[in-house]
């Protein structure tokens, strides 16, 4: 027999598992990001937050988040993204002879490390936006199904008032 808290946790985990496996519904067209830029950005974001038993940045909708914000409050960063993504891909081609999106995980890691060292303004921007998209409110297109909040063990939906207590035992949960 589930109490309310266990029930909510159980459904939350089931949801997270679904979210992780449903990469098939990932967007392929974006408002601002061109297809090849989106592929490069996917590689960078997924280095910043890779998949483990919980989804990676792109699996959690971070690209949708960034794309939406680049049409909104982050309009001012569009050029930084265009230039930075092109540079990252150029580095990958000159170093490994292939696009960053096709490079191996180790090669992608090297390129992102190089970005952090040699184009810090761009890297810091992408890192901040990736974190915002992953850990921020799902209403902005990222953190799909509140997957990061569940990963941290936060109740989703949040429990309020009497629901915070296990009334059957008469103690606080």
């Amino acid at each position: 027999m589930f109490n309310r808290r266990e029930f909510v946790s159980a459904t939350a985990l089931a949801g997270a598992a679904l979210g992780a496996s449903s990469t098939g519904c990932r967007r392929t067209t974006y408002g601002v990001l061109k297809a090849d830029d989106a592929a490069t950005l996917t590689a960078i974001c997924d280095q910043i937050i890779p998949a483990d038993e919980f989804p990676s940045a792109s699996q959690a909708g971070v690209l949708t988040f960034i794309d939406l914000q680049l049409m909104g409050p982050y309009r001012r960063h569009q050029k930084t993204y265009r230039d930075g993504l092109k540079q990252a891909n150029d580095w990958s081609r000159s170093r490994f002879g292939i696009d960053l999106a096709q490079a191996s995980a180790q090669q992608q890691f090297e390129i992102v490390s190089a970005l952090e060292k040699d184009n810090k303004p761009f890297f810091d921007l992408v890192r901040a936006h990736t974190m915002q998209g992953y850990y921020g409110n799902p209403r902005h297109g990222g953190n799909r199904d509140a997957v990061s909040w569940r990963m941290l063990g936060l109740d989703e939906p949040p429990l309020r008032g009497r629901a915070q207590y296990d009334l059957t035992a008469g103690t606080k949960r």
């Binding site: 483990d52 409050p73 921020g136 902005h140 909040w149 941290l152 309020r160 008032g161």
Partner: protein, 550 residues
């Protein structure tokens, strides 16, 4: 437009109180507020767009479009800043001002906070001064604020406080887990921990229900309207008096003066962009430290070529906020219980009396950290990205406590607000320009406070702690901004007298954080409110005698 007795510019912590006191005393009042009137329904729980985390904009104003400010750093580099960026030093722009979305810590300053120069002497390069009023003069008005706004908490655990006539009107919220961890540790260190005072209902009060203890508090409007600001306490009373009209989305441009040098009203731009003039007997400026200074500086005329109240170049100087320092501690057990607002326990042992330091500050645990706040608070040695960072987020989000506090800032005349000669806002008005930086002694106090926070966390069982102390190179004002129209008896060193009346013009008042001579080692909201009650009291008594007509 119909002549009124008083125009109040700004419907925030102080403006709302002045409106209530004046309108219920029979004066006719028009309140101009440049923002909108939000309600509990506007609590969107959006952790990327609120007043604490503003990466996608300020939820309660101002908007990123057409409201720039300018900052000049020590090297002379000039930078234009958007409202959602840190250096903007934003508070809010809405009915209620900062009190709609604040964390709502409602502190009284201590008696020494009003006598900083007499207590410590002014450090070199500082403009540390005494207030012209004492804690004892303000005490009845602190009490009035605590009861009319509605404060919960319990000061009984600490001897480090000013004398008070009665207890707070509401008991504290039940303790959260961090309180249980930190209280015995503080006592073992010989400190005096207690339930910090909050402008938040812990029981039904003022016709509204108690806090439901959610995660989205500091920076958000309260979903159940249990957080007490001017927008849900004094402003409704002012409007119900029938003497007060609140005009929202109205931007004050300048104060009008006549050829005798007295104010005759305010020019403003209304919600549809039309320029309007509202004539009045008196003008009350309550726009917070940065914007009040800007309004006075933009009120230039033949008699006041440098702006109103600025005969001795004092408007905009002594800008202060609080230098926040503290520490984070990591634990090998869960510290997080998801019970808002999070901040629950404080000590005031360190506010005064440390040899070699001019003051100090209160230390308290932090408001609930949302996941977005944890990103740069994982242990320092953690890589900034990749799997280790993701794992650290999982490992520490529920197993960390932050203790921090507002270090009393040492004021300087060079830290100031001016108006920019070139940059204009969307109405064409010169914008705020910040100059100067923080006095170095402030950093010394802050570092000491960080070490104290670390010691407290270690005593509480933290397996690892890390100090949080930054050294900003620009002015530091933010939501606790204060000091730009300092009160004093000497017109050469201050802008307003002890009753917040500007020295130059007897029918213009500045009533908000601008008048704070020093800003205490506490969140300033309750002191802003107490000063507003104090100044309104004098204003109304004077009005009944003279009506400020010369």
């Amino acid at each position: 437009m119909k002549h009124v007795n008083a125009v109040i510019v700004g419907a925030g912590a102080a403006g709302g109180i002045v409106a209530k006191e004046l309108s219920t005393a029979g004066l006719t009042v028009v309140m101009l507020e440049r923002g909108k009137w939000y309600t509990a329904h506007d609590c969107r729980k959006d952790d990327l767009r609120n007043q604490r985390t503003t990466v996608l904009g300020n939820a309660f104003g101002p908007d990123d479009d057409g409201n720039p400010r300018v900052a000049v750093d020590a090297k002379g580099t000039i930078r234009t800043i958007l409202p959602s960026e840190g250096g903007y030093n934003n508070n809010a722009a809405c009915v209620g001002g900062g009190t709609l979305s604040y964390g709502a810590q409602a502190w009284r300053y201590m008696p020494q906070d009003f006598r900083m120069r007499s207590t410590y002497g002014a450090p070199e390069g500082s403009s540390l001064e005494d207030w012209p009023i004492s804690y004892d003069e303000l005490e009845p008005f602190y009490d009035k604020a605590e009861y009319e706004i509605g404060i919960s908490g319990d000061y009984s655990g600490t001897p480090f406080k000013g004398p008070r006539k009665r207890d707070l009107p509401m008991p504290p919220l039940p303790p959260n887990r961090e309180f249980g961890i930190l209280e015995p540790a503080a006592k073992r260190l010989g400190l005096h921990p207690f339930h910090l005072p909050m402008a938040r209902n812990s029981i039904p009060y003022n016709g509204r229900g108690p806090c439901m203890r959610c995660r989205w508090c500091c920076g958000f409007a309260c979903e159940v309207d249990a957080k007490n600001g001017s927008q849900n306490t004094v402003i409704p009373i002012a409007l119900a008096s029938g003497n007060c009209e609140l005009r929202t989305e109205c931007m004050a441009a300048w104060i009008l003066t006549d050829d005798r040098g007295r104010a005759r009203g305010v020019t403003y731009i209304d919600a549809s962009g039309r320029w309007q003039e509202q004539s009045s007997d008196i003008v009350v400026v309550a726009g917070c430290a940065t914007e009040s200074a800007r309004l006075l500086l933009n009120s230039k005329s033949k008699l006041f070529p440098n702006g109103l109240g600025n005969r001795y170049d004092q408007v905009g100087r002594h800008l202060q906020g609080h230098h926040y320092t503290g520490a984070i501690g990591y634990f090998d057990f869960d510290t997080y219980d998801d019970l808002g607002p999070g901040a629950s326990i404080a000590v005031t042992d360190y506010n005064h009396g440390t040899p070699g330091l001019c003051g100090g500050g209160m230390l308290a645990n932090e408001f609930i950290r949302l996941p977005i706040h944890m990103i740069d608070r994982v242990p320092k040695e953690t890589p900034r990205w990749g799997l280790p960072h993701k794992q650290a987020m999982r490992a520490w989000h529920k197993r960390s406590i932050v203790i921090m506090g507002p270090t009393q800032q040492i004021p300087t005349a060079a830290a100031r607000v001016t108006v920019d000669p070139a940059v204009r806002d969307k109405w064409g008005l010169p914008v705020v320009r910040f100059e100067g930086n923080v006095h170095p002694h402030t950093f010394e106090i802050g570092e000491t406070q960080s070490k104290r926070a670390e010691a407290w966390l270690k005593e509480a069982g933290a397996i690892h702690t890390s100090a949080m102390a930054s050294h900003p190179t620009l002015v530091n004002a933010g939501q606790h901004q204060a000091g730009t129209c300092r009160m004093g008896d000497d017109p050469h060193g201050s802008v307003v007298d002890k009753h917040c009346q500007i020295h130059d013009v007897d029918n213009v008042f500045v009533i908000d954080g601008s008048v704070h001579v020093t800003n205490g080692g506490f969140n300033p909201a309750l002191t802003i409110m107490a000063v507003a009650y104090y100044a309104s009291d004098a204003l109304v008594r004077n009005w009944k005698g003279t009506k400020f007509r010369s």
